[in-house]
Symmetry: C2
Subunit: 332 residues, 2 copies
């Protein structure tokens, strides 16, 4: 295992400490229990909390700040946070107008956020939850009943965050989050596995000439292991199921997200973007917004995922709204 | 070789095409010769051009836009661009007040940018050049006489870009670039090599328990190959030579850049940041600005570099000035 870490059991607390130190203008960290929260402590707006296992950075801590999340709760690597820190983060960001939980669809996350929402309710905090399940690769998977939540989560967090930031009610923020979830689809590919620090071994095996189509962000099995192909053929193989799922149709305006899994060079992500934009154009689908980079990662995994979100005027306006976080920043 | 590419010889043109397509609001690409240029074609200001071998993305194309570079010239992977595209990019951004070339100190880059500057002068364009040489690891190296230019280049481009954007003269923009070069020092480490697409083989070898201290951004040899150590010990080993070189002193205010080499997870970069900030604080050096992420990469190499820039009021103001590029964006 080759990693820039100290004791594997300190990976998350040390990384969170470094993150809060580097971005003290935007966030601060609670250390016991561990969560990341906006340093400007906004009030008078709906709070938004997300979280999940670590190892997917910048998801979720990198999206805490003006116009996006109010708090993020990191669990151990690839392990859901327990209810306690979720309750604490929820209480920290409740400004009296309620709190939205944005949860990726993994059994552990769903259960722990549900428990946390019940506990927060006992304390008089109104909580609504949405569950992101954008991955079209498989119906059920290791750790998940139903479809998994993957990189589309970033789009839910940005757009719901903008809705909360402009002062929308909890019902309205939850409704716009559900709208994004209904209109975004994703699928990924891995060329290499990743190594969870406390495990010390690769989470799965791939031959030197092999890739896994439909991989999950924890290395869960996808649709098939096949021989490595040229980038354009891989894009075609991922975009087909994405387009057919909703389905997206000629005349649609979309946001195209090419998400690196952590170990793929940017030069490759733009080769992927090129082909994905071509395929969508051939289908009459217009890419009006785009995002390329490492946003929902799997440690050092080489690979990427594609996400397509159907836009309308409301979603476009919320996407374009100012945001100021460690990992996404514009207009402010 | 596991890469998300098509034909290795098309890696750069296809990636540039995808990049320009994804960021059409900020840049456009010339295809013959290949260069990336601001889409808003600013005039009345000093132009700034940088470039070099591809494989270090987002350097340099990701830094083209308002407040930073006016054009970037990508060569083949790890290979300097020839003079022709540099001349074309220089002519494209000359608004009559002259053009600054920002060049990393590699023999090929220095030679080709010099030739390009001479050719541009024949066409009546006033060109000044600065050469970045921030890497304290070794005095001479493969491809380089003197010290190499590495991640500190990003800081030169941002600060000189802000100087040009506010309307400074060519002399003044060049002077502020030279000031940054005089005050920034860097050093890196690699845990794994990278594979140049047209070579198909790792560029150097490291054992499973080995790392290279003082690595160059093309995998050139550094100071020593040693056994892998905990993150904190690695930081101490890199920061010592950086601090001692200028030297930085107690009371200094600095910008701390933790730069990922491309294949290192963000969770590890923040563990590195945590220790680096601690060491600087112990020395009485105050980190007043920071930057953490993949900015000057070596394809999929696992590793990172640390850069420390001594700030004063002028450099801080120029660092904070609005910027709008694909890879750095704030205040606008």
């Amino acid at each position: 295992m080759k990693k820039l870490i100290n004791d594997p059991k300190n990976v998350v607390p040390e990384s969170v400490e470094g993150f809060a130190s580097a971005h003290a203008d935007i966030v601060r960290a609670s250390t016991d229990p561990i969560f990341i929260v906006r340093s400007d402590a906004p009030s008078g707006k709906v709070g938004i909390v997300s979280g999940g296992g670590s190892g997917h950075e910048p998801l979720h801590g990198g999206f805490v700040g003006f116009g996006m999340l109010d708090a993020a709760v990191p669990g151990a690597v690839f392990t859901s946070p327990t209810p306690d820190p979720i309750v604490a983060a929820t209480a920290a960001v409740d400004g009296g107008r309620g709190v939205l939980h944005i949860v990726k669809n993994y059994t552990g996350d769903v259960l722990n956020f549900e428990t946390a929402a019940d506990l927060a309710a006992v304390d008089g905090i109104e909580v609504r939850s949405v569950v992101v399940n954008d991955d079209v690769a498989v119906q059920d998977s290791l750790y998940t009943a139903g479809r998994r939540g993957v990189a589309g989560t970033v789009l839910v967090e940005k757009i719901a965050g903008a809705s909360a930031q402009r002062g929308d009610s909890l019902d309205d923020v939850a409704a716009v989050a559900e709208k994004v979830i209904a209109q975004v689809r994703s699928m990924g590919v891995a060329l290499t596995p990743c190594v969870v620090p406390h495990a010390g071994e690769p989470s799965f095996a791939l031959e030197d000439d092999e890739m896994e189509i439909g991989i999950g962000i924890h290395g869960e099995p996808g649709r098939e292991k096949i021989k490595l192909q040229p980038a354009d053929a891989i894009v075609d193989r991922l975009l087909g199921p994405i387009i057919d799922d909703i389905p997206f149709a000629s005349g649609d305006k979309v946001l195209l997200l090419v998400n690196g899994m952590g170990g793929t060079p940017q030069i490759e992500l733009y080769i992927i973007y090129r082909r994905a934009a071509q395929v969508l154009a051939e289908r009459g689908i217009e890419v009006t917004r785009s995002l390329v980079g490492n946003f929902t990662t799997s440690l050092e995994m080489q690979g990427m995922s594609l996400s397509v979100l159907k836009l309308d005027d409301e979603l476009t306006e919320l996407w374009d709204a100012p945001v100021q976080t460690a990992a996404l920043r514009w207009g402010r």
